[in-house]
Each structure stands twice: as C-alpha cells, then as structure tokens.
Subunit: 344 residues, 2 copies
DNA sequence: TTGTAGGCGTTATCAT
DNA sequence: ATGATAACGCCTACAA
C-alpha cells in the first residue's frame, strides 16, 4: 500500500502538501495540486484510516450491542441505525451482547469505537464507568431494563433516561399497553396474562413492568404470574404448550407477549394443541414485525416505530459524540388490531 | 486514558517490559510482572487497539457487506457469521452494500479491515483488484451473481469459485431446484414460473439461473419470463397482484420465488385477490426462514442451511487472512414441503 | 531480564 | 505556498 510519503516523493513535494491537497485546502498552487493528484492516482494511494485514527483520536466507528439478531425486530432497528450511521460517515460494529463476556468485550472496544449503542441491555455499572472515564458515550435504543423505575427521576411521563443515566429511545409502553388492554376488555377478556423473557437484564423487562402497571390502571389484576418465553419463538411455543397440556382450562383467556416472536410461538402452540385463536385464547405481540401480519390468524400487536427509533437513537449517539446536549424520547406505540384478538 | 508509558513509570520499568507482560512473554521476572500488573490495574489501563493495529498491520476487523438486513435470511446468516468471527477474536462491520457507492466504501475500508465477506454481491472488478493489491482477502457467502457460469471453470458440479475468483459457500441450487420441480410435477404442475430480483448483480441471479437450468433438465420450459419481485415482500406482492389483476387465468399454475420474502408477498397477493393456494396457484420459496412455517398456508421452501453457510464462509475468510489454502463449498438444500404446494 | 530507539502512516504546528 | 518535524500509542529488534 502506498503511503503519503511515497506520494510526496513521486510528486516532488513534501508530505504536508499532499495533506493540503487531500483536505482541499485552497492554498495549493494549481499546478502542484495537479501533480499531487496525478501521483495519488498512479500509486492508487488511499489514506490509512488506522493511522488517521491514532492521530485524531477518533475512529468513526460505533459499536451496536445486539441481543439476538435473529429477531427481525432487532434487525429492523439495525437497518436504520446503520443507514443513519453511514449517512454521517460512521461504521457500525455489530456485537451480540453476552453478559458473561462483558469484561472481555469492553477491553476489545477500547480505542476502537467513538460510541456505544445499546439495544436495551443493562450494562454492568463498571462498564458504564469505564466508558464514561474514556469519554465514550453510551446511549440506548429501547429503555434499558434497569431504568424501569426512572419515571420518578425526572418527573416527566415515562422519563427518557434510565437509572444508569443512559439516554434512550423507546415506545411509551404504558399508554400503549393500556390501549391494548382496553381493546382486550372490549373483546370480553378480564383474565389477561403476560409472557416475557425472564432473564435478568432483558430488554423486555421494561415492557413487562409497563404491562403490569397498565393492567392496574385498568382495574385488573394479573391472571397469573408472567410466563417465561425466553424472548424467542421456540421457547415461547414450548412454554405455552406446557401450560396448555397441564391446564385444560388455563387461568387466562388472553395473552400479551413482550415481543412478536414469542406471540408467533404461542400461536403455533395453540395450533398444535387445537386451541382456536382468538376464540379460546387471544394473543397479542409488541413490535409488529412483518411476520405478524402473515400468521394464521394474523397477530394483533403494538407497533414499534423502528425507523424513527433507530434513526433517533443513532442521532442521539452522534450528538453525544459531538458533545452536544442530548435527550431521549418516547415514541407512541400504535395498536394494530388483527385476527388474533378480534373475530370480525 | 492511561498509556503504556504511564504504566511503565508507575511500575518503575520501561515500556518494553509492559509490552512483554501484556503479550505474556515468559522472560519477565515474576516480581516485575506483578508490579506491572498492579500498575495496569491501578490505572485501569487498556491497550489502544488503533495504535496496535497501526504497528501490526492487522486490525482484527472484518467487513460484511449486506444486501438487506431487513431480510431475516440475511440476518440469520449474519448471526452465525458474527458468532464465528467473535470466537476467533474478530470484529464485524456491517455495511449495507450500495453499488452506487462502492468506490466510497472501498476508500473507507482501506486500513480498516483484514478481510471482506460478501453476501453474494457482484463487486466491481476494480474493487477486487484493489483488495487483491492490498492483500485483503474477499470471500462470499452465497455465490456471487457473476459467477453463475463458473461450472466450466473447474469442472466440478456447480463449482465453488465465481468468475471473479471468489471462493464462496452456497446451496447447490440446481439439484435442489430439480427436487422442487419434480415435487411440483407430482402435484400436477407443468406451467411453472419464477420470481426473482432482476436488479443486475443481485445475489438471487444464481438461483434464477439454477431454476432455468433445472427446469430444462426436467424437460419443461418456463411458463413465462421471470417476474421481478425486487427481492422484497411488498414489491413481490405488488408484482403478482398486477399479474393476477390483468390476467384472469395466468400463464402458470405454480410459482417459485428466489427468496422466501417474495414468496410470502405472493401469498399475500393471492389472499388479497381471493386466489386459493395451492389449488389455484402453488407457491414455493428458497430459504425457509421462520416466517415461512407460520404463513397461511405455510410455505414450501428449499431450506438454506444458514448456520453451516455462515460458519463456513467466515472460516474460509479467516483461513484466507491466515494465508492458508481455502476452498468454497456447496451445501445440500433440503426440500421442505408444506401447504403452499401440497394439499394434504 | 530489562532498556533504548526506530518505525507504523497521519495530522498539525511552525518555520521558511 | 511549501517543507520539516514532533507527536499519537504500540511493537520489537537490538543493546546492555
């Protein structure tokens, strides 16, 4: 690979001049400029990004910590996160986040990224401290699990920062959940259960909390303790299948799932067990991925505005990197009613 | 951020010793080693990856060029690509590949990655030359579109390198397509159409070619020229909807789609138009994503072994980076028969 | 066993 | 308008 030094020699100038040309400084004599450009072309020279980063102390690289990229919801978020980053000249690292290897991950990230974008993970306090000390901003798309109680922090509805002080973008779950619950009541349901991912620190914890709270607001109590669907299709399917097998008449007539993948899994379980949806069991999800519109019956879901969330989360991170004041946001989650909760 | 220099001072040694400790060289006296480790801990020192890369000329970063991450199939591949990379201590850049900005992308990549993993894109020859000159290996998961004719290159069935000389992992499409076509014949179909993404350089081109060829092998001719579904759900839905609207009795009774997203879109179009599947039109896909098993009716599809493909593609790239001889591979594509082509 | 010093390819300051 | 040159943080002969 040709270096700037070589370009300089070939053009018969100093390295500084090459830099001037590269940075489009207008102080260079036109003829010199031509010579330099010529040399660059001949040598096929490209500035080395690593060297540049070392000097400028910015990498224009960002880490996005994913939970499970096999979930089309997260992939959809990533789509817009990446597009926004690219638009600003940033590169995206995708890392599947494993809590057990957080230490290791942190070490790998040092000096490699200008910022970190979480997808609702609860990062260890030490990690947060570490990043703060290094001046690496961390923001989150989806409110981190630990920040569930942050409404009290700033007094605004829902709040936009978690306990850990991370700005985040997320759906304003509580009102959305209330709309969903009201819809279910209209369909005659009062015994409503929730399925979540019970793993500590799961991004779905926030939704579970919002559901519980919204249920209370609507004057209901949970029909049963939350089911654990592990956040994935197969786990959810098995969990509900177990329930249906052991309880001929389950304690609930409607089931809200913290994500669509689990809702689809529950639909499959009902099919396997011959339970009619929504007649015997109504099912709803929380993201409205493409798949949800194509299942049999199609799934009712709270729509998660992925484009807005992905873009805003990245803009927020970029602003933080640029040391500009930033604030999180809560987006409205529209209720999409389909056949899994409504007959007509 | 603490530097190695500071650690050295604090431990009362030279910078070299710190390096020795960091790289686990056993030449350091145990006591010195302890002191250094202590200093590292106290200062919270982490080696700067950028500086290290500049010196060692390897970044342990790899770029993965994605077509459309919104497609669960690509996301599924990425899942295993990323896991494999991580296992080997490599980081993954995800970049949505835009042909129009290839030049720009190339420049951004210089000095930033040790290798490039394509997802079946046809890269410009100059890019390939560029990477070759830089010693940056390029491999592809999914056979690049331009390599469709490479069977003649090495004489083996299907071949494993494209025209551009890129090693690739892919399903062995032709036998898989033949199985699918035979299945459709058994269901009484002889007028079989194909839907693809007609964009030049699309990764789906290979599948289209394999279908055409397999159709001939089975003694059939295409029922119509390939439909263009753009590779996505909505485009496919619109394309088929147009057909169904203008042709009361379409020229085909079965439709094979180059990916599942398009197949699902076609299913939706049939539902919109009140065409029964499979009675009036049989539909099949080519990847077997989760969604395909949950549609109404569920979709027949050629199963693409994503885990094997993702892992092998990354292993291949890693081997190339390590300057080890490498070879592509063709994986078997199992036919999964479901309700969209079969009634019972 | 430990220290010195010369790069790696840029950027940017300060002369000229 | 252009040229020298000192960092940036790390690696690694080579010396001591």
């Amino acid at each position: 690979m040709a270096t700037r030094q070589q370009v300089a020699e070939r053009a018969g100038v100093s390295v500084a001049v090459v830099s001037y040309v590269l940075n489009n400084r207008k102080i260079v004599k036109e003829e010199t400029r031509r010579k330099v450009l010529e040399a660059i072309r001949e040598l096929g020279y490209r500035p080395n990004q690593t060297a540049r980063s070392l000097k400028t102390k910015q990498t224009r690289q960002i880490a996005v910590l994913i939970h499970y990229i096999g979930n089309p919801f997260e992939a959809g978020l990533l789509l817009h996160i990446e597009a926004t980053a690219k638009r600003h000249g940033y590169f995206i690292f995708v890392q599947t986040y494993e809590p057990a290897r957080e230490e290791e991950l942190r070490a790998m990230l040092i000096g490699r990224v200008d910022g970190v974008l979480l997808l609702g993970h609860a990062l260890a306090a030490e990690s947060l401290d570490d990043f703060r000390a290094l001046g690496i901003p961390v923001v989150s798309a989806m409110q981190p699990a630990d920040g569930a109680a942050d409404a009290s922090t700033d007094g605004t509805a829902g709040g936009t920062t978690g306990e850990a002080g991370l700005p985040s973008i997320d759906v304003d779950w509580q009102p959305a959940m209330r709309r969903l619950i009201r819809h279910l009541r209209e369909q005659g349901h009062t015994r409503i259960a929730f399925m979540t991912d019970a793993t500590p620190g799961s991004p779905l914890g926030v939704r579970a909390a919002a559901f519980a709270s919204a249920l209370g607001d609507e004057g209901l109590t949970p029909a049963t303790s939350p089911l654990d669907g592990g956040g994935r299709f197969e786990r959810a399917r098995e969990t509900l299948d177990d329930r249906l097998a052991t309880q001929p008449a389950p304690a609930f007539t409607a089931l809200v799932c913290a994500n669509d993948l689990m809702a689809a899994g529950c639909l499959a379980a009902c099919r396997d067990r011959g339970r009619r949806v929504p007649q015997e069991l109504a099912i709803a999800g929380c993201e409205d991925i493409l798949m949800s519109s194509q299942t049999d019956p199609p799934l009712t879901a709270i729509h998660y505005p992925r484009q807005a969330a992905g873009e805003q989360a990245m803009e927020m991170l970029l602003a933080a990197i640029a040391k500009t004041p930033i604030a999180g946001a809560r987006l409205p989650g529209e209720l999409i009613v389909r056949g899994s909760t409504s007959i007509r």
